[in-house]
Amino acid sequence: MDRRNFLKILGITSSTAMLSSCGVDKANEKIIPYVIPPDEEVYPGKPLYVSTTCTECPANCGLQVKVNEKLYHEQRSLYPTKLEGIPNHPINRGGLCARGQAGLFRLYHPERIKRPMVRDEQGNWLIITWSEVVTRIQDELQKTRRLGKINTYLSNHTNGTISQLKNQFCQEYGFERLPDFELFSHANIKKANQLVFNKQVIPQYRIAKTDFLLSLGADILETFVSPVEHTYHFSIAKKNQHFRWYHLEPHVSLTGVQADHRIVIYPESEIIFLSYLIQTLFRESHQKRNLPFKLLRSIPTYSLEETAQQTGIYQQDLQKLVGELSKAENPLIISGGISTAHAYGLEVAVLTALLQWILGITSEVVNFINARNYENIGTFLDINNLLHRLDQNEIGVFFLSKCDPAGQLPVDWQFLEKLKKASFSIGLADCLNATVRACNMILPLSHTLESWGDAQPFDGLHSIFQPAIEPQYDSKTEGDILLSLLNNNSEFSLYYKDYLFNNLKSRFGETNTSKLLQNGFIRTAVPESELSINLNQVYQFLKNFRIPQVKRTELLVFAPSIRGYDGRSTDLVLLNEIPDPLTTISYGAWLSVSEETATRMSLKDGDEVEVRIADERTKLPVKKQKLLPENVNLVQYGVVRLLSGSYDKRSGELFWFIKDIILSKTGNHVKLPVLSGSMDENGRGILPHVNEHAHEKEGKPWYPEHEHENYRWGMAIDLESCIGCNACSAACYVENNIPIVGRKEHLLGREMSWIRIQPYVQDNESIEFVPMMCQHCDNAPCEPVCPVYAAYHNPEGLNVQVYNRCVGTRYCANNCPYKARRFNWFDHRLPEPLDKMYNPDISIRDRGIMEKCTFCIQRIRAAKDKAKDDNRLVQEGEVIPACAQTCPTKAITFGNLEDKNSKAYKLAHSEQAYRALEELGTKPAVNYLGKKREHYEA
């Protein structure tokens, strides 16, 4: 019985006989059996895993959906309860970022569109049936034909089969399919590669393979093209002793603080820096490939002093950089993000490509063969063109699928007004957004986890979307809608699934298709092709080469955030509950200002300022941000609407910063939920290198120590590879039903996170991240003080909290030096329908109960249950806590410290290992691996 039938059955009965452990405690409750039982493999306590693909950003990581059978409103059914990365998936290798995991919050979003709607003359919404939808669209098309208008189809990043179907549909109905709309189109990089290598693509950057990484502005660990993949690669690269990473940026980013050398460069002065590099490399003849003289001459030459003066980089840094770059085996230069998103972005991209070429470009490091799938993605030239045509009333029926230009385009482009000029606009989306609200018709799309589909993250990799849950509302997949429109089939009896499978089978054949379904992805061979430089084209470009007049003005930088990407994720509550890693602000919008600006304008955190750009203005509370250069003011996409936008007329790249802004203090004060009490570690012994740790002296302990038979669960966290991305935190929230408490509670300092990322600024030049959770101490201060044994040390070394024994004295929390314990101040429950995602394997705590990290005891229990069946002990790697599982860099290792061969044991006893606040003698089971010395000396 295949999955579809299986889900069909569930559709019919949507009820199982399982005693779910997260039932409400009512006196007389029902136990509801199946009418018809499903196939054998499904029974309670045994979750299903469905492999599919993440669609929270264009990277398309592999997704493994945990599906649990559980009670919901007296109904027992299948619900996805957690998203994890597919292990050994070529992109994310089991890891998944916080945004990806928050996909669950989109699936169950309270603002999901429940049924198709259309506006009447008065502009009120009428609910209609799908068959009406088809007929209505048909005669709208009739109208526009008569009017001789063009029908257009705009959607966000789409590829794979659905893309074909769209083209087919567009041809059929004379639609013009506009290039896909993505705010971060990386147009300059594509254009530059097209100029230099005749390949208008974004290559794969194989960071793992390089020994010298030079990145300009590209926030490779946060949002740039494929962050999770980069992050994983980065963690591999770090293992290499000789790996060096220089990151140049005009502002401060999470990526920047991870680099061995973060160098602040004046905005727009990257060209000067790059020209200097190229010229010096040639002068000192470090080049691996030569360039024709005239081409070389067209690149301006700068002296060391000039460069330093123009770019604001210290001379010694420049020399050091050149030195190491010239020594590098196969260096990798990535420019992107903010460094290519300004008036000279194209030049930067071109010079980068050129530099890469000179230094020897191998598909090992820069892979043009398996290029990222960005060819459908349009630029702001296309958008502008669209706006123009809307203005001219040329647009007839206008499909907007899964994209929110109204919410994302700059305010002063007035997309909404122009959208109204389209004769009939149809918004397809899963959740309500600014765009669909303004459309004439809204068609509810099924969430990716409710639908079939496929994607092609990069050439040679194909991944599948499989439903993990029946559509919760009267929604359809884009495929189903298009098919039915194509064949004018108002019963929607044609399934996109069949279309998809025919397509897949024809492309990959039976066996590969089934493999695709099983693993969630397959790889196919891509014809190798030699990379060649188009010197003439480059020369033509460099001939009229403009040098920026770098002058420092007050800047407003719009940066993508690891929580919100381009803003598409900002309305997912989980990503608001989890703080921004650098500022630790959780809810609300803010403007990050430099220390200098703050002192100049005498601003405290939370003081409100008015930002004025030409005639646009907005009010924002400020947050002083360490490491932020002077005159640079930072806001995040999505958190703040892009006020006024301009773009590169050549490539269509959006500019990320706005010059000559005016800040003025309003005098108001806004309370900011800043979760960190202090960014300064004060030599408290939480970071390793601050005060060398007096490793606890061996000697006879005063009191008998705990006996552990068989197991002593422990953890090792490699601070070297932790990038503070908060994925672990997200995983923990979802896995353990941690209450989401909201802004008001955060302002009172009552966040509930079991694992949190603590940023500490080191002598004003670097930021260290320490993941902090319950340390499961051997001498736990929390244990002896509990009057009722709710907190106690169990035979496996876990520091157990027995929830329904807890009376709530909060003494344990007071006495915990790590403050890892969280008290339930209220009965916090997720609002419907978000509460569908509760994990049935663990309780939902009531008010007045203390809770904390349990090392995912439910997973330990499951593993032990399994082990006991074939009576053996739990093996290495059988238990993986949620945080360790999802960590993109695999920084967290969990294991049995009793087992001398376990990885955790070895790491815990390596010379790098130390324990936080060791001198208190708490004997934690969590071992931190301090950063290696050279990274500090560097």
Binding site: L19, D25, N28, K30, I31, Y34, I842
Partner: protein
Amino acid sequence: MKIRIAPYFIIIYVLAFIIFVILISYFWQKNRKTPEQPINFSHQIHVSKVGLPCTHCHTTVEKSTAAGIPSVETCMTCHKAVKKESPEIQKLTKYWENKQPVPWQRVYRLPARKYVYFSHKRHIKANLECVNCHGNVEIMSIIKRVPKLEMGWCMSCHKAKNVSIDCATCHK
């Protein structure tokens, strides 16, 4: 003058005792009451008369935390033919015809069970008989809860059998 204290004490004592007894009996009743079932299904007939083994209907008891309640289909396999005329079976067929699950009332409910992890599988694998906890269902025409399912009850057995009494074994 002499004051006699005894009578006061006696009166107070007696009153206290009466109240105590009343309370106890009330809670006793509350715990003992067995819910009304939509169909009065008799374990006695199915087990003693027909002689079905427990696992015939409670299929997942050996491989899952939950014993499992038979699907309506399972009931119908026999009752398509057997005892069609009896009113109770007609109730069942009605459920079957309009594809409705039977809303059985739960009899065995752990107190505060959202904080408790209990696995049938583990207890079966430890060679416990169903009877040990569920009593002689073969003689129950209407299923009743035999033990109180209180923590102490679990504890004493775990202690006697000398298996883990670590809180984390059962509490979640």
